[in-house]
């Protein structure tokens, strides 16, 4: 198995990488912080990955995308599966005061994904097999006053992915959108923890299994599917008054 992990230093992505490493997969890891990337790579080598290559890139810089995918293809001799995981939660309150801050958040969470997915969809379409997985969020299902910039970006990616899935289904490529609830990672380090929070190791195993099985949409933990079913069905007239 030849797997590319985009944002390999994300706590959740790393847990997925660990599952692939235990399977002796060859891995190509992309992240922007070289020192952390090296720490993640060492761990995966010890765990048994057949090969670990690293590549440093700031994913907000779209001009790096074609090159990094090509580098992965060269290093691994092809790509069977990809996980895209980077993200910035941002601070809604400060961002909403500024167009540039809002667009910057939208850029890293949506535009950079659309760029990467476009390039990778073409790769997989030509290859006629493989798995393209991205990490989305339940926050992308409905805009909330406290978090709609991030939410809109995640929502845009989910709709984009559903189109790509529809297109690539014809050639047998699986396209997975992961819809995460709350996970205990650096991204949520500032939040007060409660029973809704899942651990990255548990989430990583679920994503890994869904990638192998070729699933379409994965809610993790799965109870979020029911919570979101309710949330999606609250009439806007009522929803707009809620403090969410």
């Amino acid at each position: 198995m030849r797997v590319m992990i985009i944002s390999a230093t994300s706590a959740i992505a790393h847990e997925v990488s660990r599952c692939f490493a235990a399977d002796r997969a060859a891995l190509f890891l992309v992240a922007r912080n070289a020192e952390r990337l090296a720490a993640a790579a060492d761990d995966l080598r010890v765990l048994g990955a057949a090969k670990v290559e690293t590549y440093v890139a700031d994913l907000a810089d779209l001009s790096t995308h074609a090159a990094l995918i090509e580098a992965a293809r060269q290093a691994l001799g092809g790509i069977d599966a990809v996980l895209i995981a980077h993200g910035v939660l941002g601070d809604q309150k400060t961002a909403q005061q500024s167009v540039s801050a809002t667009l910057e958040l939208f850029h890293i969470n949506a535009i950079s994904y659309i760029s990467l997915i476009t390039l990778l969809a073409n790769h997989f379409e030509a290859q006629r097999q493989g798995c393209l997985a991205v990490i989305g969020s339940v926050a992308g299902e409905r805009g909330r006053g406290s978090n709609y910039i991030y939410g809109a970006a995640k929502g845009a990616v989910a709709i984009f992915m559903s189109g790509v899935r529809n297109r690539l289904a014809k050639v047998g490529v699986s396209v997975l959108t992961v819809k995460l609830g709350l996970v205990n990672t650096p991204m949520t380090a500032h939040m007060k923890k409660n029973a809704l929070f899942a651990e990255p190791a548990q989430v990583g195993k679920r994503i890994y299994a869904a990638m192998l099985r070729g699933e379409d949409i994965l809610y993790v933990p799965s109870f979020w599917m029911w919570i979101m079913l309710v949330i999606r069905n609250i009439p806007e007239r009522i929803f707009k008054r809620l403090n969410l």
């Binding site: 706590a11 912080n33 020192e35 952390r36 720490a39 993640a40 060492d42 761990d43 010890v46 765990l47 650096p186 380090a189 923890k193 409660n194 029973a195 929070f197 899942a198 651990e199």
Partner: protein
Amino acid sequence: MGRSYQSWGNYPKARNQRVIPVHWRDAPPDLQAIDGSVLAYGYGRSYGDSCLNENGTLLDITPLNRYIAFDAERGLIRCESGVLFADLLQFIVPRGWFLPTTPGTKYVSVGGAIANDVHGKNHHVAGTFGGHVTRFELLRSDGSRLICSPTENAELFRATIGGLGLTGLILWAEFKLRRIPGPYIAQEKIRFGNIDEFFAISEDSDKEYEYTVAWVDCVSGGDKLGRGIFIRGNNAWLARLPDKSAAPRTLLTMPFDLPPFALNLLTVRAFNEVYYRAPLGKVQHKIVPYDPFFYPLDVIDDWNRLYGKAGFLQYQFVVPRAHDRSAIKEILRQISASGVVSFLAVLKVFGDVESPGMLSFPRPGVTLALDFPYRGAPTLRLLDRLDQIVRECGGALYPAKDARMSPQMFEASFPNWRAFSQYVDPKFSSSFWRRVTGQAQSGK
């Protein structure tokens, strides 16, 4: 899941603790910028207050769980300090290696194992965990990061092993593993009728068995005083069992705290009656997977909640060889007479292998670990009486299990603590440390 950041005994409960997770070793938090004192927190498997920092900050090191290097020929592993023994075992056992020594639970971190210099069933041959550590990196609050080994920063190395987390934050550690032929243990169980029989079996067994330990019945008095089961074993050469493969066991979880009447004299007595009904003196042989042999209690997740909301106290002491028999007998007599029940009582003879740790607990002699449901003053009074016996024969209490020893008892247990304290990082402290050094009242 929200973590509770209390200790395993649920007593005492620490209030007003701030928690900062440590995710990356390249960018640990700036400790100087934190108000008040700090303390590393692993998996909270210490029973009392040595992993707590009331009105201070806990540095949650469990996200620091990456491997750094593994030398499969020499069995040398380097990993971040939050690596969990349970995960490590899953990785090393199939590769033919085992922990150099392990406590009775696999849910501890490498950092916690060093800070308490933990011991296991092979102490008589292998010594403590710290004796197998070759080096580690220590972060001090002034921002310095020091590689410590027996030859480099040697004093800090010795202070940090068994140093109760007070000398700084261990970022990663390197230690030696033990070769094993397979994941099984050839186990033998022998029932003994009293303490003298225990000592006889122990003396024989420690020469030929790598792992030895005993469970003691603390409820029965008179001629049954100190009866129990001796458990010993060696690594079995089998790679797999001939009949069926060891199926992974499902964990039971204690879903809520049991009401206080659940663990009373009657239930413990009933348990002991069943447990000790095996024939006296006869050796029962069995090949068992390493997991139930080393970690019998880990089958039930959160078993500490058996004790209810009030929590419970562990009491573990060591008494030197010269006085071991008389002291153990006297202590068992006191417990049995008090009517206070101890559910788990574990007895083991420590060997002579010296630990590098300055403040290490294990020393040649006999150790007994007991646990008592917390019932307020009567429980504390009994333990004060036991303290006296331990002190009179020059023994010591184990800080990892302690929630109540006095500064005097600490001084008696660790007469060199003042020498140790020069290595304590000025920013680091714990509820335990303030209590046993008498700073608790002064509010420092």
